[in-house]
């Protein structure tokens, strides 16, 4: 295989890298200009890159190109790559009005490089490639977290994120090396073939647990979640949004894919009646803990960002439910959930960013009386938070319904996963409480008398409206995503 062929496999990624370099270059030629204008130009370049890459993905002939099986390009992977690109584009859009940094070019470039990592991550079917792209994503995200250089919190958050991330990378690598040792293969299908012949040995169990721990850090599941609240609180809002949306979508997809393909046959069962050792029960425990702790800890938060962080942990719990169900329907449910969750949390962080620019902080009390100052922004926040709580007709409701239906369908007729579904729905009732706390500030509480009028630029309003409409649209017409997903899943052979 020549290098030219290799490059042809990764054209969309190359487009993004080119866009990142162009943004860096363009920014370096106009240091004198205002940050606002530079952000606009950098954003345009990044947007053009994302759109071009997405167009390429849509138009290029679907050829299963696999240099030694490193990367795949089936319709499912394409779908995920387009999703990552869309989330990246939206992240860039919500960061355009930021004022936390003068290093605009670097910021935009890092977002794009992170996106390249995520695109490679979802395409990889080889544990080496997987690990490298995981690291590429993570390293970009660490720097993005630290990007607010004048803020101590941002630095603290980045350091915590980095240390935890490094640990988790070590766990992942340890687990993967055990897998390699057990099977002598690095490709997922070959690993699966080798593992299928073995019984559940202690070594395999350790390998599986290590992999779960590694990915558990990545998706912020309890008890590997400790970095999340600090990172969400300290990072610049668009960075936090990117961690919660794009990175989460890609990580969850590869997590599910890895477990489903590589460890097929070693699932075990997390059913209440017939527990069976394997990786599914491990994830069941992690999911249950995430739902419990995420929702309960969110209740007492006074910072909206921390509240969103704990709610993200809880949502990771719901999504893990889909991972452990491990069939085609649950994978579709997982992708739908992760994607709509990404859109929603992007919107929520965009609103947080708007409020922060206006009031200088993101405490609950800073949101008081927002609905009188900025009705449109408040209405968008209403949509995002209610979607997170799972109120119909918003995307979050159908996502939950789909995930739970898939989970229960797996256990018919004895409904073995009912205990997890009941826990999840009970906890989602708890979650309504804290989302309503935020909405209460926005709609019920009066703004403090000395509050300065909040100015929201038309551009921010436009982006928020777009996100809000997407959340409503995917909630009212989930078929839009589902039909694309189901064809992709069928051709991918799942």
């Amino acid at each position: 295989m020549s290098y030219l062929e290799l490059l042809r496999c990764v054209v969309p990624e190359l487009i993004l890298v080119a866009a990142a370099l162009a943004a860096l270059l363009a920014d370096s030629t106009m240091r004198g200009l205002e940050a606002r204008i530079r952000f606009a130009i950098g954003g345009m370049i990044a947007g053009a890159g994302c759109v071009a890459a997405a167009v390429w993905l849509l138009l290029a002939p679907a050829h299963a190109l696999a240099p030694g099986g490193m990367l795949v390009a089936d319709p499912l992977v394409r779908f995920m790559q387009i999703a990552v690109l869309a989330l990246t584009l939206l992240t860039v859009l919500i960061s355009i009005e930021s004022d936390f940094t003068a290093h605009v070019g670097e910021y935009v470039a890092l977002i794009l490089v992170g996106a390249v990592g995520m695109m490679l991550l979802v395409a990889s079917e080889d544990i080496l490639m997987m690990f490298i792209s995981l690291e590429l994503t993570s390293l970009s995200l660490y720097i993005l977290t630290a990007f607010h250089k004048r803020s101590r919190r941002s630095a603290e958050a980045a350091l915590k994120y980095f240390l935890f991330g490094g640990m988790s990378a070590a766990f992942t690598l340890f687990g993967l090396s055990l897998v390699y040792g057990l099977t002598g293969a690095t490709h997922l299908q070959e690993i699966a073939a080798a593992i299928y012949r073995q019984s559940l040995s202690p070594l395999l169990a350790v390998a599986m647990v290590m992999v779960v721990i590694g990915f558990g850090f990545k998706v912020a599941a309890v008890p590997f979640h400790l970095w999340a609240p600090d990172a969400y609180q300290g990072a610049p809002a668009p960075s936090a949004a990117f961690i919660a949306s794009g990175s989460k979508v890609a990580s969850f997809f590869i997590f599910a894919k890895f477990m489903m393909i590589a460890f097929a046959g070693a699932e075990g069962s997390g059913s209440w009646h017939n527990y069976d050792p394997g990786w599914a029960p491990v994830i069941a425990v992690v999911a249950a803990l995430s739902m419990l702790w995420g929702n309960l800890a969110a209740i007492v938060q006074s910072s909206v960002r921390r509240l969103l962080a704990y709610s993200a942990i809880a949502h990771a719990g719901y999504m893990l439910l889909a991972v452990m169900t491990h069939n085609a329907t649950s994978l579709a449910a997982l992708i739908y959930y992760a994607l709509t969750y990404g859109l929603t949390i992007l919107g929520a962080f965009a609103v947080v960013a708007v409020v922060e620019r206006g009031t200088g902080d993101e405490k609950l009390s800073c949101f008081a009386g927002l609905s009188r100052q900025a009705p449109l922004v408040s209405f968008c926040m209403l949509i995002f938070l209610l979607s997170l709580a799972g109120v119909p007709p918003l995307a979050g409701f159908f996502g939950k319904f789909y995930v739970f239906a898939a989970a229960l369908k797996e256990g018919v007729p004895d409904l073995g996963l009912l205990w997890l579904v009941i826990l999840a729905l009970g906890m989602s009732a708890v979650s309504l409480y804290y989302y309503l706390q935020v909405l209460k500030q926005i709609y019920v509480a009066e703004a403090p008398a000395d509050a300065a009028a909040l100015k929201v630029s038309p551009f921010s309003q436009l982006v928020l409206c777009l996100l809000g409409m997407l959340v409503v649209l995917f909630g009212c017409a989930p078929q839009l995503l589902l039909s694309a997903l189901s064809t992709a899943l069928k051709t991918a052979g799942l």
């Binding site: 007709p393 989602s428 009732a429």
Partner: protein
């Protein structure tokens, strides 16, 4: 065509959101027009309806890969409740004519709530039903938390969480039913045909039933109701007691009892003399009747009296459902309608006519105000409403509770007697509240209670109304009260008007269980 009730309400809410902030009159007019248009559609649908039929309004695939349809339909039961919603919506707007604080948002939330309620009553796909059911939760929260009074944030949050927990229980039951039946449909009629295993129905039935019954005020899960009703602004408490509690009862009948009829069969053993879920819920309903009435008897707050009376009257609905015979069931449905109208009227008197003028709901304080002379219209309305509430013949409450009692007499003779005692206590608390609020002793003027009288007291009184400086009863209030009283009288004098629509509905295949296992 009935589907337009839903669309009109949501469109009205959308229009309201786009209106300019300052213009309260435009908001009122828009809300009124929307409510009237909804009522007009309902009446047209009611006239065209042929008893015993089930009208499919719209049925298109919605999420085909999961077998979920956008299926709106109406049988006599839904039609009755849709009619109630239309009436309550119009009356509610009339009684909130004086909302000046954030008027636009008030009516926008109000109309979203109305639209959700219409949607629940017309949905015959369970997913759709649940969507509308939960759409209705959020506006309730804001209506109470923003425009409410006593402990509004507490009451609003309690109501929202109770409803949401109920919704979650229903969701668990429905998803289970969905996957057990093969995950191909969520249509009510299709799932009702599916023979769920007995063991499954035995736990799914109480789960879904209780999930809905929380909203219907089933004792001991009723505690959201009094606090929510009291905290809510007038229009919201009218809707809450008038319509939203019916959502719960309707869900019990339409979903829990239709899908899992065998959950009503005997357990095969007895605990404390109760041999089935049916016995248990019937007993809880009767406890609710008695408990609500007794607690209403000792309340010091006028609105709490009405709040607890709602729990008591909703007990009759649930008891009617548990009789599992035709007369009891149709009585239960009629009671939903009747209580919706009467509770709306009572809350309108207490919240709008009395509280907005006197700024107190303390019965002891009201006693000193001679309200029968100060606001004679309110006094007359309350007397009429009380007569309807205690089941005086000629009003809708009489025929509805009578039917429930006859049905209960056939199914649970002992409980029927106890429920009858509940009616007597009902007379007592209504009488007491009426006496204290409107026909208090004016001689009390000299007593220390004087301190409770409102600050707006004029100096030189020549009539009680002017002495207290109360505004005259406005035209919207008069019209609203007239609509509700006429509705109750119409049904009371000619119950066939609704019964001929309700009763044949029980012949539909949805209620097959009535013939087979239901009646003993």
């Amino acid at each position: 065509m009935l589907a337009w009730t839903i669309y009109i309400s949501f469109l009205g809410a959308l229009v309201l959101m786009l209106l300019p902030h300052a213009n309260a009159r435009a908001s009122r007019a828009a809300a009124m027009l929307t409510a009237l248009a909804g009522l007009a559609v309902v009446l047209a649908g009611f006239v065209q309806f042929k008893a015993g039929r089930m009208v499919t309004i719209s049925r298109v695939p919605w999420i085909p890969s999961l077998g979920i349809e956008y299926h709106l339909a109406a049988d006599g039961i839904s039609l009755t409740l849709v009619l109630l919603t239309g009436l309550a919506a119009v009356a509610g707007v009339l009684f909130s004519w004086n909302v000046e604080h954030r008027t636009k948002e008030f009516f926008a939330f109000y109309l979203v709530l109305i639209g959700g309620v219409y949607g629940v009553f017309l949905s015959f796909d369970l997913f759709l039903l649940l969507v509308f059911y939960e759409i209705a939760i959020i506006p309730k929260y804001f209506l109470i938390a923003i425009w409410g009074s006593t402990r509004r944030e507490y009451g609003a949050m309690k109501l929202a969480l109770y409803s949401f927990v109920g919704g979650a229980m229903v969701l668990v039951g429905l998803i289970c039913a969905y996957v057990v039946a093969g995950a191909t449909t969520l249509d009510v009629a299709e799932l009702a045909k599916y023979p769920f295993p007995l063991s499954f129905q035995m736990w799914a039935f109480p789960l879904v039933f209780i999930g809905f019954a929380i909203l219907a005020g089933l004792w001991p899960l009723h505690t959201w109701a009094p606090t929510g009703h009291v905290a809510a602004p007038t229009a919201a408490s009218m809707l809450l007691a008038g319509v939203v509690m019916k959502l719960g009862a309707y869900g019990c009948l339409r979903v829990a009892m239709t899908l899992f009829p065998r959950g009503l069969e005997p357990w095969g053993f007895h605990v404390l003399g109760l041999g089935s879920w049916r016995d248990l819920f019937a007993v809880l309903a009767v406890i609710g009747i008695l408990y609500g009435a007794m607690v209403a008897l000792v309340q010091a707050d006028f609105k709490f009296v009405i709040g607890y009376s709602s729990v008591s009257h909703m007990g009759f609905v649930l008891l009617g459902l548990m009789t599992l015979n035709r007369i009891g069931l149709s009585g239960g449905v009629l009671q939903m309608f009747s209580h919706g109208i009467i509770a709306g009227l009572l809350f309108a008197v207490v919240g709008r006519m009395v509280y907005d003028r006197t700024h107190t709901r303390d019965l002891a304080a009201l006693e000193t105000m001679e309200l029968n002379r100060a606001i004679p219209f309110a006094a007359v309305t309350f007397v009429v409403a009380s007569a309807a509430a205690i089941g005086l013949p000629g009003f809708s409450g009489f025929i509805a509770e009578l039917q429930v009692l006859i049905g209960a007499w056939q199914a649970f003779p002992t409980l029927a007697v106890v429920a009858g005692i509940g009616i007597l206590v009902g007379v007592a608390y209504t009488w007491r509240a009426m006496q204290k609020a409107f026909f208090g002793d004016a001689a009390g003027d000299a007593s220390p209670r004087q301190t409770h009288s409102p600050p707006r007291s004029a100096t030189k009184p020549d009539s009680p109304s002017q002495r207290h400086g109360f505004d005259a009863v406005s035209l919207p209030e008069r019209v609203g009260a007239a609509i509700l009283i006429l509705a109750s009288l119409a049904i009371g004098l000619y119950p066939q008007l609704l019964l001929k629509v309700i009763v044949p509905s029980f012949d539909s295949p949805l209620f097959e269980w009535l013939k087979t296992g239901g009646t003993r």
